[in-house]
């Protein structure tokens, strides 16, 4: 009679199951390693965005609501949520415009800029695990969110859209270690690159050696690199143990909604050779263009 283990399994069965476990583990490890190649990683993007749509989309009435006859109530809740989103957008725009208008009136008596076009979405999931710190918002391509859109809340900059589904967007938070935001001091004008720290405060790198920020001044985006528009509030400068850190503005007003505005669009410059020289160009101008080419 075959000897049984403590778990009551025969040795042959046990070794087969052990082999299967190792095959699964090695298969998963191979999958992880394979994703280090961007081409393979992008293969899984549709899976992620579809799953994100399922987790964060939420535009459809759930099966449970249909079974329990709560479709009308669910629809009403969704309508109200949409209205709140819309109102939230107007409120954010009004606050922003009022502040700007006041400053302009005091200094130059100029009219404020028109409100930024954007989509306000509800944060449906957040991941604060060991991997990238991200949020999942319930608005995607179908609602007009652009790839690389900038996410803001009432406190300031939240992050940037890194994955876009039909009805969901995944936002990489500026608090993440891998996030890099070009910033500047509002008063000092000192430039630096902000990245997420380990203690909930932002850290600075690439700062000038001889100048520093002013304690308590607002830190804004500097728009260098073109990923973020200029002047978005990021937080406040704090000098801790000789290092300049940023206390995030977004953390103060985490209300569960984010507004996603389109990223700044910079036209690709056209090479001089590609600019057609019309026949009517004067000989002097043509020779000047040739000089530029040289």
């Amino acid at each position: 009679m075959a000897r049984l283990s403590r778990s009551g399994q025969k040795p042959k069965q046990r070794s087969a199951k052990r082999l299967i476990l190792f095959v699964f583990i090695f298969g998963a490890a191979a999958l992880v390693v394979a994703q280090s190649a961007p081409q393979i990683r992008h293969v899984f993007d549709p899976v992620r965005t579809t799953a994100g749509d399922r987790l964060g989309g939420g535009d459809t009435i759930s099966l449970w609501a249909r079974m329990t006859g709560q479709v009308a109530r669910e629809r009403r809740i969704k309508d109200l949520e949409a209205e709140v989103r819309e109102l939230s957008r107007y409120r954010a725009a009004a606050i922003s415009m009022a502040e700007r208008l006041e400053a302009y009136e005091q200094i130059l008596n100029l009219m404020g800029e028109p409100p930024v076009r954007g989509v306000t979405a509800r944060v449906t999931a957040e991941s604060d695990g060991p991997f990238a710190q991200t949020l999942l918002a319930n608005a995607g391509r179908a609602q007009g969110v652009d790839p690389g859109a900038i996410a803001l809340n009432e406190g300031g900059l939240v992050g940037r859209v890194i994955q876009l589904g039909e009805h969901s967007s995944r936002i990489l938070l500026i608090t993440d270690f891998n996030s890099r935001v070009p910033v500047m001091g509002e008063v000092s004008g000192v430039r630096a690159i902000l990245y997420g720290g380990r203690d909930g405060l932002g850290s600075m790198t690439d700062m000038p050696e001889r100048t520093g920020f002013i304690e308590g001044e607002r830190i804004l985006t500097s728009a260098e690199g073109g990923a973020f528009p200029r002047g978005l509030i990021v937080g406040e400068a704090r000098l801790l143990s000789g290092d300049w850190r940023v206390k995030y503005g977004m953390a103060r007003r985490a209300g569960g909604y984010v507004q996603m505005i389109p990223p700044p669009l910079i036209d690709t410059p056209v090479a001089v050779e590609e600019i057609p020289v019309s026949d009517e160009v004067a000989p002097e101008q043509a020779s000047a263009a040739q000089g530029v080419r040289q």
């Binding site: 283990s5 476990l21 190792f22 998963a28 999931a125 957040e126 604060d128 891998n178």
Partner: protein, 183 residues
């Protein structure tokens, strides 16, 4: 303890439930807790460390030895965790399966059901192994040493809740085995 008129102790419904319903019930609990964990988790301004629910299954289901169905469930939970945590696909699958294999290995080496010291220390070691594997993988894949504090807090929550409701993930015997098959 509740007894019948005959004097024999009355068995609870859970104690007479077979491994397959127990497995399904445990999987349902993991899925429910995991889905709740996707929602923003702040209370009075403090963020709550949410447990890695799939590890309860990995530790609890491994106590009766290896079986294919728990492995498949752990792979499915791992893939969902990978997507929700925005990790490369396969990371949480490895963590879950390593902890499951470790749990089954310890169960094969020691009597985890009857020796109190082993029954307490084994899950602690398994959770620590899961914590280490996840931290190492995350650090390797993110190109820097990731923050250990939130991870440690999440694992602490996982362990504390498991200590309170470990019976929910106790299969009694390997799935598919009939009563009395296990010696």
């Amino acid at each position: 303890m509740a007894t019948r008129k005959s004097g024999r102790p009355r068995k609870s419904l859970w104690s007479i439930t077979g491994p397959t319903p127990r497995l399904l019930f445990g999987a349902f609990a993991i899925a429910a807790i995991g889905l709740l964990g996707l929602t923003p988790k702040t209370m009075f301004g403090l963020s709550i460390a949410w447990p890695y629910a799939a590890l309860w299954g990995a530790v609890g289901w491994g106590r009766v030895g290896m079986s294919l169905r728990p492995m498949i469930l752990l792979i499915a939970f791992g893939l969902i965790q990978d997507i929700s945590f925005n990790a490369p696909l396969g990371c949480f699958v490895i963590v879950n399966l390593v902890v499951y294999g470790f749990s089954a290995w310890i169960a094969g080496m020691f009597d985890v059901m009857n020796e109190p010291l082993v029954a307490v220390i084994a899950p602690i070691l398994q959770f620590i192994s899961g914590f280490l594997v996840l931290w190492l993988m995350a650090s390797a894949l993110e190109d820097h040493a990731v923050r250990a504090t939130p991870l440690f807090a999440a694992f602490l929550t996982t362990g504390v809740i498991y200590a309170a409701c470990h019976r929910l993930f106790d299969l009694g015997r390997a799935p598919g085995e009939s009563v009395g098959q296990t010696t």
